[in-house]
Symmetry: C2
Subunit: 210 residues, 2 copies
């Protein structure tokens, strides 16, 4: 299809498509004349991925370029490619260097992950992120106890295994795997959070016998 | 205690305390002379609540003033008082008036809540928020199916009943109930979200046999 059709089918305006071509986010089409090129399904898939990373993930063009590079490089294993997107979605957390409470929380997170037998890379930003929240709870005088964390972790892993993992397209095109991961992580994360707050209202009403 | 001690014990600077007094967030102390007043435990509790609403909840002073008014008015039932804080923590969601997809999603949320037998007020902003995420998933070509939602809801309610509700101080001072709700909703929400993303990494590694 021509660029005008690619635009109509994807809903992405032509100038935006041209911008993505210049930035290297979208591969060039096959030239059919000096001024025309032919685009295909792969371009539609890529535009869909870029849209998810931008609108759902809230990522910058620079962050998207890195993810696209991992998608395009077939020598990058699927798990590493997914990790690129996964880590890019994590909120930035400042690591307080000489904070005792934070150090203790980080050690606790590492212990928890070991105990659960979860496979997490040593430099995963999620470790720091969890430590940061735990240190904050302690500082507010409401520390999370180990039992709580284990129960939360077990429930979460059960849900992830029976639900979330079935939504990731591991076997299809590399773009589709990353796109499904972004949508699943961000939007199902929101579904979970809203349901949790709805459950709070209902449980509170029942506890107070309303 | 004097205002200087109140500051030292709470960690809130004296000028900030004076600002809260002027804005009506903190009740005045008992005057002991023309320029001095005596403060007590209730003031410490209130400062702790304000800190949680500001720093953890990220609320504005105007939003905090409304919550404080509900805390101070003993004729406001506990559930309503907690609801004031609970709803203030919900992210603002624009309601697209004439959007068919959104309307359908909202009807679906209402049906789900009915089916689950949850006690949620008809005007809870969480209904709109969930509908908005569901409409978004549909628009991205990844609609959530009913089975998924029911399973998520059941798991979440179980966790909330056995864990979250035990952390809310329903029987103590009204300030402490609201403060525990804010910390629990926001920070345990983050704990949940990070654990979910950690579980994704581990489950993905196992699925790909790494």
């Amino acid at each position: 299809m021509r660029i005008s059709e690619l635009s109509a089918t994807s809903g992405v305006p032509v100038p935006t498509i041209k911008y993505y071509l210049r930035e290297g986010l979208l591969p060039h089409g096959t030239p059919t004349s000096a001024t025309r090129a032919e685009y295909g399904e792969a371009h539609l898939r890529r535009l869909r991925l870029i849209r998810a990373l931008l609108e759902v993930g809230g990522l910058s063009v620079a962050a998207i370029a890195k993810i696209v590079a991992a998608v395009e490089d077939e020598t990058v294993p699927v798990h590493t490619m997914l990790g690129t997107a996964h880590y890019a979605l994590a909120p930035a957390v400042e690591t307080p260097a000489d904070d005792e409470e934070f150090g203790a929380a980080l050690a606790r997170v590492d212990d928890l992950i070991d105990e659960l037998g979860w496979q997490i890379t040593p430099d995963a930003p999620t470790r720091t992120e969890l430590a940061w929240v735990l240190a904050r709870l302690s500082r507010l005088g409401r520390p999370a106890d180990d039992e709580d964390l284990r129960r939360y972790a077990a429930t979460v892993m059960e849900l992830v295994t029976i639900h979330d993992m079935t939504k990731v397209s591991f076997d299809g095109p590399r773009e589709a795997a990353v796109e499904s991961l972004v949508v699943g992580t961000v939007l199902y994360g929101k579904v979970f959070d809203v349901l949790r707050r709805l459950a709070h209202e209902s449980a509170s009403a029942q506890l107070l016998n309303l």
